[in-house]
């Protein structure tokens, strides 16, 4: 029997606003428990929400980028259910009139492009966090995250494999980071998704019974969780049994999905319009302003990098594909004029370092200023490319500037002719046999002399100067 997989993704994008969707408490990640919480986030009796304008603008920017319809009048609804980290007993979300309707996004997989349609995207508040395993017999509630603005983007069920799902999430990540609507930090939960997975016989029109895998927060886990679920469902169907519609969790330690216990039976969320908030209306002027201030997207950057800075198509594509890399490149350009050396370094040494450590450039200790100065010091021959590499390693460790490292380690390149000549004479005097052999025609020995000079200068001699003087002296 041949089976077909149908996947729809609900992506939760945490919007990068300074304050929460309905309060002015900070959204900063990593604060001490229950400190980014004000009266509203705590859901105290008598408090009222007010809407964060910036969250709306960011949602609209996303909608424009995927060519969606923007509902200039949108309303908030209450979704009622009880949970320990849901302070009010309801979540404020958008049901009937979401801010973004329709649209589509392109994904790339194995050189092929596919369009995935978007059903809708709406604003809602995040819940707090429950910690289940730190206190004996208790779950602990931290409301720091409660009220953080989320954009929930719902795709049509048009994704047909785990790999496509990953490609979709990667495209989504690229888009929301370039749009500056989210920092896209998956480890911190800024981008996560619920996957609706179902299986049907190839050629069937009707969808199979789906399961929903909740809260997957890495590209790797998306692929693994979906693949596990596909296999599990096919096995059930091949045994002639039926898939149960349910919510499941992916357990990465066991690489399996299992049903969630806390959602024991289907809830009735009793949505109704939030009476504490009036409809939000975005004016035509605001729409125009958002459109005018639209950020540059990867494709546009790629072309500009080639035109403006003479980058190769390949280099431009790599640098422009990641928001943090492109930001870094553009910031460094303000401090160095050697564009090609900078892009070489970004694609070479720097990318290698980041890949090795599995981090993004903004998570490293590298600053655009420091890297630009490193390029400048190589460019002006204060240091050699080779020393540049060892300085770079130190820079990654300490975050110090290139000049600090040169100073503290005495790494400055010796370009002074007199000093180099003196060392060269020492080398010649100390190695009479080799000099004789060289003069007798053993040209290969030239490298030996260069090596000796470098050894004595601890690699700081300018290689060009060494070559010139050495050639002169060995005539």
């Amino acid at each position: 029997m041949s089976w077909e997989t149908v996947i729809g993704l609900e992506t939760h994008v945490q919007l990068s606003t300074k304050t929460k969707l309905f309060s002015r408490a900070s959204t900063a990640f990593g604060a001490s428990p229950n400190t980014n919480v004000n009266l509203i986030d705590c859901g105290l009796p008598g408090v009222l929400p007010s809407v964060n304008k910036e969250a709306f603008y960011k949602a609209i920017r996303f909608g424009m980028a995927v060519n969606a319809t923007i509902n200039q009048t949108s309303i908030f609804d209450r979704k009622n259910y009880f949970y320990a980290d849901l302070p009010k007993g309801y979540q404020i979300t958008q049901m009937d009139l979401p801010i973004v309707l329709g649209g589509s996004i392109e994904i790339n997989l194995d050189g092929l492009t596919k369009t995935i349609n978007i059903t809708r995207a709406h604003l809602e508040e995040d819940a707090g966090k429950s910690i289940h395993d730190e206190f004996d017999g208790f779950s602990a509630i931290d409301l720091n995250r409660a009220g953080t603005p989320l954009l929930e983007i719902v795709s049509e069920p048009e994704i047909s494999s785990a790999k496509e799902a990953v490609a979709y999430m990667k495209a989504m990540h690229q888009l929301v980071t370039f749009l500056d609507v989210s920092d896209g930090n998956m480890a911190q939960g800024s981008l996560r998704c619920d996957a609706n997975v179902s299986i049907r016989k190839k050629g069937d029109q009707e969808l199979g019974t789906r399961t929903e895998i909740k809260n997957i927060n890495s590209f790797k886990f998306i692929e693994k969780a979906i693949n596990f679920e596909i296999k599990r469902q096919i096995k059930i169907l091949e045994n002639g049994e039926k898939v149960t519609q349910e919510t499941r969790l992916y357990d990465s330690s066991k690489d399996e999905t299992r049903p969630m216990r806390s959602k024991e039976f289907a809830n009735d969320y009793r949505y109704f319009p939030e009476p504490d908030l009036l409809p939000v209306v975005i004016s035509d002027e605001e729409i125009t302003k958002i459109r005018d201030e639209f950020p540059e997207l990867p494709k546009e950057k790629e072309i500009r990098y080639q035109k403006q800075f003479g980058l190769s198509a390949y280099d431009a594509q790599i640098i422009a594909s990641s928001k943090s890399m492109a930001d870094f490149f553009e910031a460094a350009l303000k401090k160095t004029k050697n564009y090609s050396l900078l892009s070489n370094w970004l694609i070479g040494e720097i990318s290698a370092y980041l890949n090795k450590n599995q981090i993004e450039i903004h998570e490293s200790k590298l600053s655009a200023d420091n890297v630009a100065m490193l390029i400048n010091r190589i460019d002006d021959q204060t240091i050699s490319g080779k020393i540049g590499k060892s300085i770079f390693e130190e820079m990654c460790e300490s975050g110090s500037s290139v000049d600090e490292i040169i100073k503290s380690q005495g790494l400055k390149q010796i370009s002074d002719d007199g000093a180099i000549e003196e060392i060269i004479l020492t080398v010649i005097n100390e190695n009479p046999d080799q000099v004789a052999a060289y003069l007798a025609g053993k040209d290969k020995l030239f490298g030996f002399f260069v090596g000796q000079v470098m050894k004595l200068t601890e690699g700081k001699a300018n290689p060009k100067t060494v070559n010139t003087i050495l050639k002169n002296k060995l005539k």
Binding site: P45, G46, N80, P87, I141, R270, Y271, F272, P275, L278
Partner: protein, 486 residues
Amino acid sequence: MSIQFKTIVELRAMLDSKQISAAELMQESLGLAKKHEELNCFVTMNEEQALKKASAIDLNEKTTSNLSGIPLAQKDLFCTEGLRTTCSSKILSNFIPPYTATAVKNLEDAGSVTIGKTNMDEFAMGSSNETSFFGSVHNPWKKEYVPGGSSGGSAAAVAAGIVPAATGTDTGGSIRQPAAHCGITGLKPTYGRVSRWGMIAFASSLDQAGPLARTSEDCAILLNAMSGFDSKDTTSLNTEVPDFLENINNPINGIRIGIIKEFNLADLDSQVQERFEESKKTYEKLGARFVEVSLPNISASVPTYYSIAPAECSSNLSRFDGVRFGYRAENTDDLNDLYIKSRSEGFGDEVKRRILIGTYALSAGYYDAYYKKAQQVRRLIKEDFEHAFESVDLLMTPTSPNTAFKFGSKGTQNPVELYLEDLFTISSNLAGIPAISIPHGLVNSLPAGLQLIGNFLREDQLLNAAHIFQKNSDFHLLKPDLEGSQ
């Protein structure tokens, strides 16, 4: 000199002429509260803070506000920082808010002094004050009678002369009906006139805070201080607030008052009818013209209200879950058990009834037929009012079909019986328009209230018409015999 039954205007004169100091006034007011403890008006007193603030006021010579040093009572659903706020519910019986409601803060910033928090129907759900966890408030006029509700403690405290005025909230008549039953004046402002920040929500789209006082003039003084846009309540109105005292003495001749055709007054108790006819005559003498107007959908107000209010309340009261504040049941097996036990033990029967009705009205399959339908009818009712106000300035009805009733005599067998008492008051909440209740005489030794309903944001017209009535009558001067009343 006793300060009992004095108005704000009278107390202001006494303070200004140094007949009494703010501290003495506070002592007197607190003393009266204690003396009439059997009325059960207060849930929590604020004695120490009140005396401290009054003494500070005495030391400060400059008094610019007419509320400076005036003792007030606050309904116990306004959050007051550091002062217990219970909503007369077991579930909040230990709740100390970390902040103060805007309405109360505005009054306190104007110099008034909160002497305590008044008893009420639990979470403002009720019209007899019988649902309070702290026991019923007694009507100062006849102690075996209800004071009305839900702002029953505030109404009784003013009627007993303990404080000259108090705050209340009105979702379906909760200021006007107890004001009527206790023989005082109570105003429900336009929805959005007073900030709802810090007011513990019953039904968000209907709730509105307002004053209860001995006279409409004093109501105007309170409303002046309470009103205004508040960025913390995005449903508060961002419009200029007029000085409600400015035109309060304007003559009212030529004013057009509408009588609602659909309210069949002939069905009412004959004495209630008689009072109404008398008041009509008084207004006619003052130059008012009466017009019959039709509001075809107004008789649907009660079912509309009892769909919308419980729906909103069922959601608003979800936050009382025993997790972050309030009562938590002991010996619970798990989180769900904690919710169920805490809420079941923490809420009283009427609150539970309304939460269940609201949950039902919002649940899948019933939403369109109950909740959405009610909001559609609500629009029709609002349009009826808009149409009526094209030809009249005010509408006039009795505040309540009956005067106060004896404890336990209504609604215990069938709650709907009690809901129908709200017939005259509910529609102005649905439409968001202001309405005032003023005393207009006694029926069997119990006060009866006259309601005037105004157009959107026209509290000034209501206060003007009420004040002129009070200048030409003495019903508002009648006082209960607190020693003799049984």
